[in-house]
């Protein structure tokens, strides 16, 4: 029907998906405040739930239609977050306490083994199982960073949680890239390629990291207005990273680590930098929630719990075994081990990629991996928050 007056909108008006996303952001932020105030839970617990609800109401096309700019936003959020996480890694500590490094390797290997074994049991071929195991090593940096920041926690459990998360994320990214290389048969028997690939990742990643670190420390970003410069620098770095075909995760972690350890001078990550990323983090968790498909929870829920259980147990064992030599009490070891369990968001992305490559996995693996990620997305922050509370390091 032709509108009677040309400047009036159609009836019913054509609501763009952007409106829905904006509504979801506001809803998520409000729900986050509510859940924190009334239930004492971390704000980010609410974000994926709201995302799930919005996706259920508005349908799948939300993310698909705005994939591009959403992805950029999420990349920035993640990049700033990882930059800060990297800047929390004190390499001197690892030198003084070798057992902490051993703990990190132990818990990562154990998690890898557990996820690999369960995937094999589910009938996944060796290479994708390696890939899954590699992803399973990583603790979700976003969840850890946000919950630690929100509970204002300080102490052995929270500091170790940050450093172990940074380290296992680095292991995971490198292993994933290697496994992908094998998977796509890029190396095809060429050992030089197989060896130079990780060297390129680490070397070039370190170089990009160094560049960003130099820019940040050189520009002396002091107040809130400098946040826009940081934002610009991070965007430039992301561009550079993409041009060099490097993983964002790795480069940003390296940048943080270089910034912190590059010189002896004291360096504290400015609080307002974190708040730039903090707002974007809502989007990160919201979009993760939107990708949760309820039907997956029904088909793969049980096996997902097995997968999560095995992985969490492996991480816990790895930490607990070395708790005393590494200098934490049994109780702290227990809480640290449990707090490492939140899985990384990339699980979903990787699982989706694998599903496209191997359609036969659509039935077996994908629902399990997807629902495992979904469960951890929802439960992870609560576990971390409780562990920090019980460790007595929360100071809100």
């Amino acid at each position: 029907m032709e509108p009677s007056v040309f400047f009036l909108p159609d009836w019913p008006p054509d609501l763009s998906p952007l409106l829905w996303i904006a509504l979801a952001v506001v809803g998520a932020a409000l729900a986050g405040e509510w859940i924190r105030h009334h239930l004492g839970l971390p704000r980010i617990t609410a974000y994926p739930v709201v995302g799930m609800l919005v996706a259920a109401i508005a349908g799948n096309r939300l993310v698909a239609e705005h994939g591009d700019w959403l992805r950029t936003g999420l990349d920035i959020a993640l990049a700033i977050l990882l930059f800060e996480l990297g800047s929390r890694v004190d390499l001197r500590w690892l030198r003084h306490n070798r057992w902490l490094l051993v703990t990190s390797i132990c818990e990562s290997l154990a998690a890898f083994g557990a996820v690999f074994a369960v995937s094999r049991y589910l009938g996944v071929a060796i290479t994708p199982a390696v890939l899954l195991g590699a992803i399973g090593m990583a603790t979700s940096p976003a969840v850890i960073m946000r919950v630690v920041a929100e509970s204002n926690a300080q102490g052995q459990v929270s500091t170790r949680l940050l450093i172990l998360t940074a380290l296992n994320t680095i292991y995971a990214v490198v292993t994933v890239h290697l496994a992908m290389g094998v998977l796509h048969q890029r190396y095809s028997g060429d050992w030089v390629l197989a060896i130079t690939h990780p060297l390129y990742l680490l070397g070039a990643g370190l170089l990009v990291g160094k560049l960003l670190a130099m820019a940040v420390s050189g520009l002396a970003l002091r107040d809130e207005y400098a946040s826009i410069i940081l934002l610009g620098l991070v965007l430039m770095t992301i561009g550079l990273i993409e041009a060099l075909r490097l993983p964002v995760t790795l480069c940003m972690l390296f940048a943080g680590i270089v910034l912190r350890n590059g010189e002896r001078r004291a360096w504290v990550f400015p609080r307002h930098f974190g708040s730039v990323g903090g707002v974007l983090v809502i989007m990160l968790f919201l979009v993760a929630g939107m990708q949760i498909k309820v039907e997956h929870l029904f088909t793969g829920g049980f096996l997902a719990l097995v997968l999560i259980g095995a992985r969490s147990l492996a991480k816990l064992t790895g930490v607990l075994l070395l708790a005393r030599p590494a200098g934490v009490s049994w109780r702290q070891g227990l809480l640290l081990g449990l707090a490492l369990s939140p899985a990384a968001g990339p699980v979903m992305v990787a699982a989706a990629d694998l599903g496209r490559l191997y359609p036969e996995l659509q039935v077996t693996l994908i629902p399990v991996a997807m629902s495992a990620a979904a469960i951890m997305e929802l439960v992870g922050p609560v576990i971390v928050a409780l562990c920090l509370k019980w460790s007595g390091e929360r100071r809100d």
Binding site: R88, D90, W93, H96, N97, L100, Q154, G155, Q156, T159, R160, R264, R265, A266, W267, V268, A326, G327, V328, S329, R395
Partner: protein
Amino acid sequence: MIDETENELPEFSQSAPLTLGVELELQIIGSQDYNLIGSAPDLLREMTGRKHPGDVKPEITDSMIELSTDICQDYQDALTQLRSIRNELVHQADRLGIMLSGGGTHPFQHWGQQAIFDAPRFHHLSQLYGYLAKQFTIFGQHVHIGCACPDQALWLLHAFSRYIPHLITLSAASPFVQGIDTGFQSARLNSVFAFPLSGRAPFALSWDDFSTYYRKMIATGVVKSMKDFYWDIRPKPEFGTIELRVMDTPLTVERAAQIAAYAQALASYLLKEKPFEPQEDDYLVYTYNRFQACRFGYDGRLVVPGTAEQRVIRDDILRTMATIEMHAYDLGSTEALNLLRTEVLQGRNGASEVRAAQASEGSLEEVVRQGSERWAGRLS
């Protein structure tokens, strides 16, 4: 320990005259933000079973820890013990990814963020004093000096009062409080003065008189034991010592040992030469002198008790050092005295070093980092 009132003073123990004991309260600092961190329980847990002389104990907030030596014969003994405990503490702190530091205050901590160490006595103090207890997150050096008998202890205590400005100036290391340069050399003592039972001990030269005073105070219900007196110098009957409590924790254990040696030589001079008899009237200028030392350090002016003579604190210290030189020699602390004298001549103490670091670095975080390196003996 809390509700039990010690109605009688404990028996004054015998101790060899002029033996030393040193206690240092330390800052525990997080390596993420260089602020105080409540890691005393972690550090104490990791220290249990480690071999070192002396003792390591909790303090009122859990971002503080106190180390103490065993009884030391002389300067070298104290220095060796202090270094040995320091090394073990630093080693454990390194394992925990935390740092330790000397200095009378943390330059930018906010007392509101401190947590009371979980022990009945500390909770009691926190209840009684409210925010004062948390504001008591300050770090001092205590030096015990052995006395043959209680009357000697009281005599020495009051004779020492006129040298309190020296000890304050030599140890002063707390110019910054809550991020602000206070203009003081020892701002820490201003926090101590807020306590109702701080200040000087009552003028009693015999143990009987002192016991009478103590019983009267107990009867008022104001105090429950000697621990409730926060005097600048207080007798410690259990150890058979007097305890000098005005010093800031210096930035290094070496400086702490030198200051202990200075106090020991001074005690030897006072006890053996009896250059004057302590008077109640000595205290007329006491708080003025003490303030001058806290505020201006070496450049402060003190009034010599019993006269109206004004002296610059620097000159008074140098003059005293010359007087007690032979006593220091006999006690084996000539080296300590010489090192201290150099500092006095150059007008240097912890406060001036902290200020110099802030002037050249422009960042209190970096000042704290350098402070912890200096404490660990990794920075010359």
